[in-house]
């Protein structure tokens, strides 16, 4: 039995600040002090504190250290761990509650998040299946397998109103109901090819609570009658791949994956597929092609993957965040889930908020809250010296919105009225120093690079739009040529094969609609 637990928050921010070096130093010092039988050192996921250096949580003392450096380690070990006197200068907040650590840690700025998907991120050690089980993990799977019929599961998810969190917002239960009645070999695929610029929610779910995804996939497999699942992860997400691989192998060992799960006749297994750097593979049919070892070119739809997918078999493709909602829905019921969010978009949404705000990072809040609330209440307001000018919502393929839309509720339908999309939930805040033409140039460069080349409207269109946005920035584009850009983007919307080419109209037309005055200054 350990008397004290030290949890190291391991995410890109803390790794960058030297978390591993500090952890190594702690292990050394704790051993030197002869405390290794009393002090347990482990890792946990992100607690969404950015710019606070190396972060360490100490339980049961409920102390949160920030900005810890290698030089502080000896002092913490000698003073706190040996004598019970916390090193005050490094303590951020002396009290916080479990499980909503983030809520109270930075009480002033990060308020009232509702964590469903991220309930365990920053609370448990993601590498420990025991800690997952101890926090109700795999209860939903047990309940589903032993007390529910597959059709009941599909109905419950339908009733919950859960919609796909990858971008398109398609109702998840409905998607499952297309595949469930089909016979023969079927697959569950989790889309973890998170490439939308400004989005890293799936990475933090995978790094913070990988078992939740495994549980969600197994439930989905039971509901639709699939015995095999695949997680397609970006090749760049090294830590996610490591953590998920460990979680899968632990789940197998504990019997949550494999044959006859919970003593039933249901069997399910999960494999990881690794991407190799192609944004278009986030499109579900391109992803399937890539899983088959081919170039990531999208397929013609219909038939949809639900009927003809991986290896030409019926395949349910869901995003990481979507599947991670599933265990909670089945454990607590659809009505519980519907108590969060709005009528047409129940539940919570994980947003990544970036750019010129005080606290960029990740938040999970109910659907339907406004951008103004997000900026002021959750992101600590605009960064010093910055004034809000525009926000791009939903990643690079999203629309720009201006100040007048700050009070629009963020959900699928409300944004639709402004011809904007929620997309992946990335929110990039631009201040008045950002030049819209310069921003467009960066966005177009991304698409020109990522267009897969299969269809000509997108292959040629993205190149023309890139060239023209460069010309615009250099003040060499005429107004007629700009209007032509809108026409080209509209043509791409109608004629492109997949969503990549179809969505460029959003940044372009919204720039034209809300920032025309600025563009006029740039016209030749």
């Amino acid at each position: 039995m350990f008397r004290t637990h030290l949890l190291f928050v391991i995410d890109q921010n803390t790794i960058d600040a030297g978390a591993y070096a500090v952890k190594y130093e702690f292990e050394k010092e704790v051993k030197a002090a002869g405390l290794e039988q009393e002090i347990k050192i482990s890792e946990t996921g992100s607690v969404n504190l950015i710019g606070k250096g190396v972060i360490i949580l100490v339980f049961p003392d409920s102390i949160l250290y920030t900005n810890v450096s290698v030089n502080d380690v000896k002092e913490i070990v000698n003073e706190h761990l040996m004598k019970g006197r916390p090193v005050k200068r490094l303590v951020l907040s002396e009290t916080f509650e479990i499980p909503n650590i983030t809520v109270s840690v930075a009480r002033e700025t990060l308020k009232k998040q509702n964590r469903i998907v991220l309930e365990r991120a920053g609370v448990i050690n993601p590498d420990s299946i025991e800690e997952y089980i101890a926090t109700m993990g795999y209860e939903a799977l047990g309940k589903v397998l032993t007390t529910m019929k597959p059709t009941d599961v599909v109905e419950e998810v339908k009733k919950s109103g859960l919609r796909g969190r990858g971008g398109a917002g398609f109702p998840t239960g409905l998607k499952w109901s297309f595949t469930a009645p089909l016979s023969g070999e079927k697959y569950v695929v989790c889309n973890a090819d998170e490439g939308e610029p400004g989005t890293f929610k799936d990475r933090l779910i995978l790094e913070g609570d990988p078992h939740k995804l495994i549980e969600g996939m197994a439930i989905c497999g039971y509901a639709v009658g699939a015995n095999k699942g695949y997680v397609y992860i970006r090749g760049e997400y090294t830590l996610s791949i490591q953590r998920l691989a460990k979680a899968i192998s632990d789940a197998k060992e504990y019997g949550f994956l494999g044959n006859n799960i919970f003593g039933t006749d249901f069997s399910f297994d999960i494999e990881i597929r690794k991407g190799a750097g192609a944004y278009v593979c986030g499109e579900e049919t391109a992803l399937i092609e890539s899983m088959e070892g081919k170039r990531g070119h999208p397929r013609a739809k219909p038939p949809f993957p639900g009927q003809v997918g991986f290896r030409n078999k019926p395949t349910v493709v869901n995003n990481v965040e979507t599947l991670s909602n599933v265990p909670n829905i089945l454990l607590n019921g659809a009505d519980w889930y519907r108590s969060f969010g709005t009528k047409n978009a129940p539940g919570t949404k994980v947003y990544t908020i970036l750019g010129k705000v005080n606290h960029p990072g990740l938040i999970e809040v109910p659907m339907g809250i406004t951008l103004r609330q997000i900026i002021n209440e959750y992101a600590g307001g605009m960064a010093p010296g910055s004034k809000f000018k525009a926000a791009q919502i939903g990643g690079s393929a999203g629309a720009l919105i201006s100040e007048e839309m700050l009070d629009t509720p963020l959900d699928y339908d409300s944004l639709g009225q402004w011809a904007a999309v929620l997309g992946s939930g990335a929110i990039l805040i631009l201040d008045e120093k950002t030049e819209i033409p310069d921003f467009l140039r960066s966005v177009m460069k991304f698409f020109a690079h990522e267009s897969c080349g299969k269809c000509s409207p997108c292959r040629i269109g993205t190149k023309i739009l890139l060239n023209r946005s460069i010309e615009l920035y250099k003040r060499r584009l005429t107004e007629d040529e700009w209007l032509d850009c809108i026409k080209i983007a509209k043509t791409m919307e109608k004629a492109s094969f997949c969503a990549l080419g179809q969505s460029l109209i959003l940044p372009i037309s919204s720039a034209d609609k809300y920032f025309k005055e600025e563009l006029k200054d740039y016209f030749a």
């Binding site: 960058d16 070096a21 890293f200 690794k274 190799a276 750097g277 990531g296 750019g355 690079s396 960066s442």
Partner: protein, 155 residues
């Protein structure tokens, strides 16, 4: 090329991406030679053109020899608005490289750009091999490069 890499996988075309990753990661110059592609094609019973098609489609694969450290500077919008262009310029200057995609003469560094690395919370950011470096500044870049030149480990 290390033949045991092929034997780790069943000769199924679905394993192509894995095999290419492994071969590339096993070589200090981080690239796939035409000879590699031929051997993979033979093992998977695919035309070489198919294998080459896949190797050229994905941005993580290279058909040209690269340095020991591959620097991938994120140039997506969130990093762009936080000053990614200056970061790129600084890398070029420190490394003495004129163009993106070039490798230093000592074969230590290759400079590349990348789409979003998903570490936007610490923009502007880059990845050097498997390690992410965030909140980049000119000073930080010089320090990182100096450390790696001195043979410091990439952690």
């Amino acid at each position: 090329m290390d033949k045991t890499i092929l034997e780790k996988y069943a000769p199924d075309p679905e394993n192509l991406l894995f095999i290419l990753h492994d071969i590339q990661d096993s070589k200090t110059d981080h690239y796939l030679s035409f000879n590699d592609l031929q051997q993979v094609a033979k093992y998977l019973n695919l035309p070489v053109s198919k294998v080459q098609g896949v190797a050229t489609f994905y941005s993580m694969y290279s058909l040209e020899p690269r340095g020991k450290y591959i620097i991938r500077v994120c140039e997506s919008a969130p990093c762009h608005v936080m000053g990614a262009l200056d970061i790129l310029k600084e890398f070029k200057e420190v490394l003495g490289l004129e163009e993106i995609g070039m490798t230093t003469k000592d074969k230590l560094f290759t400079l590349e750009t990348s789409a979003c690395l998903g570490v936007c919370g610490v923009a502007p950011a880059c990845m050097i091999n498997d390690v992410v470096y965030g909140n980049l500044t000119k000073e930080k870049i010089r320090q990182i490069i100096n450390d790696l030149r001195k043979g410091g480990s990439n952690v």
